[in-house]
């Protein structure tokens, strides 16, 4: 199942990669629902606080009194209704999540696959033809690029900031992420897991090139 919501965004914002649009869509979904729910609940909290501020010393009939266990009040109905509402909201956002996960985790076929080796403190990239580069990654525009992320030492995280996707780099494990960059340019690679003294500077560059430029560079 593929949701191609990102087409709707074309023209309004630049879609860097299919995942960025899908991610934005999902985040906006969560943020909208979250803000509405938050506004209602906190609004209700503030409203009740103001509305029911004590006026004078008069006490409600069932006010707590010393040495007396307070009477019970409230029904299960409230809990039941709330459960239904929350469950409904969760169901909606879960559907959105599952679709997005599908998109993120199933790289389209026929892609350029690059091995990513994280190490203290830098990045090494190995291309299918055996070409190796350090720190500066070059990829062609408009092509699906799959990254097989692993680590040579400690736990790192391969983060492509502008592309809104990250892969945990763990020794002995390979995690897969993919992008399909639509714009040529220079993008940031950064480590998102504390990996020692050099963590702050564990950055790299990803240069998205026009396909023909890339081919020339790749053949070198």
């Amino acid at each position: 199942m593929k949701v191609r919501i990102y087409f709707k965004f074309k023209g309004r914002i630049i879609v860097l990669s299919p995942i960025t649009a899908q991610w934005d869509w999902l985040f906006i979904l969560y943020a909208t629902i979250g803000s509405i729910v938050g506004a209602i609940v906190i609004g209700f909290l503030i409203y009740s606080s103001i509305k029911y501020k004590a006026k004078g010393e008069r006490e409600p009939k069932d006010a707590p009194s010393l040495g007396k266990i307070p009477a019970e009040r409230g029904t299960m109905k409230v809990a039941f209704v709330l459960t239904l509402i929350v469950a409904g909201i969760l169901f909606t956002i879960t559907l959105g999540t599952m679709q997005t996960v599908d998109l993120i985790e199933k790289p389209p076929k026929g892609s350029l696959t690059i091995e990513v080796h994280a190490y203290q403190w830098g990045w090494k990239f190995i291309y299918p033809n055996g070409k190796q580069v350090v720190g500066e990654l070059r990829v062609p525009k408009n092509e699906v690029i799959t990254f097989k992320v692993t680590s040579d030492d400690v736990f790192h995280n391969f983060g492509l900031i502008e592309f809104k996707v990250k892969g945990d780099a763990i020794k002995g494990k390979i995690n897969t992420i993919w992008i399909k960059p639509s714009q040529a340019g220079v993008y940031t690679i950064q480590c998102f897991e504390l990996c020692g003294i050099g963590h702050s500077w564990m950055k790299g560059k990803m240069i998205v090139m026009e396909p023909e430029d890339f081919d020339r560079w790749y053949a070198e």
Binding site: V86, I170, S200
Partner: protein
């Protein structure tokens, strides 16, 4: 009241210990807060050079560890110690000396971790999550990490003791008629908290022991690919996620305690709220993998954890709603405790909603490891949990000190607190492009503005805490004397003077069926007078000090280890002597509410709870083994490494010793002293033989190059059997004590409890062996 140093060092009284926890946790708050300010100053501007990466990483790590483990939970336990016994109508906790020891282990554990700052390479700097394999010697050579691990071990010991103590206290020492549902909400919060602690902490204990073994003995748990990062993740987060609910629950329940008092209406849906809290606590154990969503774990498992993580918002949503409905048609008085309760609930709601974002695997692909996460958990743990506990502090302060504070300054504190908090943490939501725990960020991008705002917020927030401390000091100096019930509350702690007398109640309280709390005379009206001296004990402090030095010695020098061990041994000896001479007497009240544990005594229930924790602990250790085994391609086949003859002999020895231990118990039940002595002696001999035989086995294996660092099977073999051997050794030490007592005629037909508890423990240790033997030797 006596305020000498002796009182505070050797006290076992729950209120004194509560004060000690309060002061210590606030001290750690200042320490953790100062570290946070240092970090915020560094991050105020791009490319700032205030702190370099090394000190920054130490600040990040120690800030996290202190705030989570040495500030937040202990602050909750300050009130748990002081207030819970009063609320349920008890004179003290079930095991006062254990309670004191729990405190000293907490304090010394913190010191042990902090010693790291003064060693070369500095304190632990791996992040509070201490991720593998960065935590191993290969990547973090400095002593600070080992010391951090050792400090954690002491803290876990402290928590375990506290857990057992509070469970027994709440289940067994309630006043007559005080059913579980009648208990005030804070006591409920602590009950659920200690249950979660009992289940969660053994997992991190297993993890830390493996880590310390890796660092000191060269085992391979976290260096190997088969264990490594993912094994640590599982062990850490199986603890770590319940831990956030452990931190949250007391604060949330303090809010539930405070709302009805200041809104002048009973809590809305108390039962619903309690059920929701129970369900939420239980569910906190099946959500841990959401911290590992993008580590590449099994998708099916991950789907399950996604659903549970989302679903856990339902019980907490219900709790929130019940709290808000309490305000409906109420008559709210905005005193300082109420303001903090309201404010922290609002902030918790924000943190709860951003938490739902994090339950989405898809969103995690981008949010993971960013400041969004930092914003989320500070809203829940500072906004929700800490705010709730500060409300609790303002609420119970008059009770604990007998002094009121300035309401005007309290409101000023609240206002500045809320402004500072939101300015400090809200901008972090917008720093989705910034990794956590970076010391430096560059000028490109738009990171600086939100960082700048956040730092300004942190200064305002810090000022609010300075006001807070001034309020407390001013109150202590010249605050108005507090009445016994200044807020118009209903529960038992408010029925005694402020501060309460040493023995809490002149007479045993009782709850009548219509909900009236009465105080009837216990011993024909005679007021019991208990003086401090009866309840002073040197043991707790000395045992903790001995352990502290021993662990420090293990990391630093054999000499300190030796001194520590001697102090430890002397302390244990003194403790045993105190018991044998009957100098420290704890009486269980005659009448009380004890459902569902009415038929067994306190000590036995305590042993049961302790063994339950042990089960989780060994499950974690063996679970770690099975995890590694499942990831390994090759493993030695039957008989390739181990001499099955020796192992079989050991199995035989241990099973037999179980029988002799039971024999000893049966004899003393019939009052036969000689049989008891014989049984205990035989058990001791068999246990000793087991250890000797184990030693021979280890030596043989060593000779063949099968050392802890030689392979994963060796790593697991030595760690697992070593931990089990340590349990046998501990059993033998207890056995020695029992033997001395038996030869002094300390047991009789009526009095044989200690033998019974030992039997429970010994049988447990044997059963563990019955798992270890096939799992390690035969498959």
């Amino acid at each position: 009241m006596d305020s000498s140093l002796t009182r505070w060092l050797f006290t076992t009284n729950h209120k004194d210990i509560g004060i000690l926890y309060l002061v210590t946790s606030l001290y750690f708050l200042i320490l953790g807060g100062a570290l946070a300010i240092l970090m915020r100053i560094q991050l105020m501007l791009p490319n700032n050079q205030f702190l370099s990466a090394g000190p920054f990483n130490q600040a990040v790590t120690v800030h996290g560890l202190i705030m989570v483990l040495w500030f937040l939970s202990p602050l909750a336990f300050a009130f748990a110690n002081y207030i819970v016994p009063l609320q349920i109508g008890a004179r003290d906790l079930a095991f006062p000396r254990l309670n004191a020891m729990s405190y000293w282990f907490y304090l010394f554990g913190g010191l042990l971790a902090a010693v790291g700052f003064f060693t070369p390479g500095g304190a632990i700097d791996t992040g509070w999550t201490v991720y593998a394999p960065l935590n191993t010697l290969n990547y973090s050579r400095q002593l600070g990490v080992t010391l951090g691990g050792a400090g954690l071990l002491m803290l876990i010991a402290s928590v375990t003791m506290g857990t057992v103590n509070f469970l027994v206290t709440i289940f067994r020492l309630r006043a007559k008629g005080m059913s579980l549902f009648k208990m005030p909400m804070y006591s409920w919060g602590i009950l659920l908290t200690v249950f979660m602690m009992l289940l969660a902490f053994p997992s991190i204990l297993a993890g830390v022991i493996m880590l310390v073994a890796d660092r000191l003995l060269g085992t391979l748990y976290f260096l190997s690919n088969e264990g490594g990062a993912i094994l640590w993740d599982h062990l850490f987060w199986f603890f770590g996620h319940p831990e956030v609910y452990i931190l949250l629950m007391p604060g949330l329940m303090a809010i539930a305690e405070i709302f009805p008092v200041f809104a002048r209406r009973p809590l809305y849906g108390k039962r619903i709220l309690i059920f929701a809290a129970i369900i939420g606590s239980a569910m906190s154990f099946i959500v841990w993998a959401h911290h590992m969503f993008v580590t590449g774990i099994d998708p099916g498992f991950r789907k399950f954890m996604t659903i549970t993580t989302e679903a856990i918002s339902i019980p907490f949503g219900i709790i929130t709603l019940c709290l808000i409905l309490t305000l409906f048609r109420a008559s709210i008085r905005f005193k300082t405790p109420m303001l903090f309760a309201l404010g922290s609930l609002a902030l918790f709601i924000v943190g709860g909603i951003t938490g739902v974002f994090n339950s989405s695997v898809a969103l995690d692909y981008n949010l993971r490891g960013t400041y969004w996460i930092v914003a989320h958990f500070h809203y829940t743990l500072v906004g929700g949990a800490t705010g709730g506990l500060i409300a609790a502090l303002y609420y119970w302060w008059p009770k604990m000190t007998g002094r009121m504070y300035s309401e005007r300054l309290g409101k000023l504190h609240f206002t500045i607190y809320m402004i500072g908090f939101n300015l400090l943490y809200f901008p972090m939501h917008l720093l989705v492009d910034m990794p956590r725990r970076v010391a430096v960020y560059s000028e490109e991008g738009s990171l600086w503005l939100n960082n700048y705002l956040s730092t300004i917020g942190s200064f305002i927030f810090a000022i609010s805490w300075i006001i807070f401390f001034l309020i407390l000091l001013k109150s202590l100096r010249n605050g108005k004397r507090a009445e016994s019930n200044p807020w118009g509350s209903w529960s038992l702690e408010w029925m005694v003077p402020s501060p309460p007398p040493y023995h809490n109640f002149d007479v045993n309280p009782e709850v009548e069926s219509d909900g009236t709390i009465k105080v009837i005379n216990a011993n024909g009206g005679s007021v019991e007078s208990e003086t401090h001296n009866v309840h002073l004990s040197k043991g707790p402090l000395m045992v903790a000090l001995g352990t502290f030095l021993a662990l420090l010695g293990v990391s630093l020098s054999i000499f300190i280890l030796l001194i520590g061990s001697i102090i430890f041994a002397i302390a244990l000896f003194g403790w045993a002597k105190e018991n044998i001479l009957g100098r420290f007497v704890i009486r269980e009240p005659e009448v009380g509410e004890r459902w569902p544990f009415s038929s067994i005594c306190n000590m036995k229930l305590g042993v049961w709870f302790f063994l339950f924790g042990e089960v989780v602990f060994f499950s974690s250790i063996l679970g770690g083994y099975l995890f590694i085994r499942a990831n390994s391609t090759s493993w030695p086949i039957l008989g390739e490494v181990f001499d099955l003859k020796l192992a079989s002999i050991n199995t035989f020895l241990l099973i037999t010793s179980s029988l002799t231990a039971m024999m000893a118990l049966n004899f003393i039940r019939k009052g036969e002293q000689r049989g008891l002595k014989l049984g205990l002696l035989l058990t001791f001999a068999l246990g000793l033989l087991f250890l000797i035989n184990k030693g021979i086995e280890w030596e043989e294996l060593f000779k063949h190059g099968f050392t802890p660092s030689s392979s994963l099977p060796a790593t697991i073999f030595y760690t697992t059997t070593g931990i089990h051997g340590a349990h046998v050794l501990a059993g033998l030490i207890v056995l020695l004590y029992l033997l001395v007592r038996a030869y002094k005629g300390g047991f009789s037909r009526e009095n044989y409890d200690s033998v019974e508890y030992f039997d429970m423990y010994w049988n447990f240790v044997d059963v563990v062996w019955l798992f270890i033997f096939p799992l390690l030797y035969l498959i």
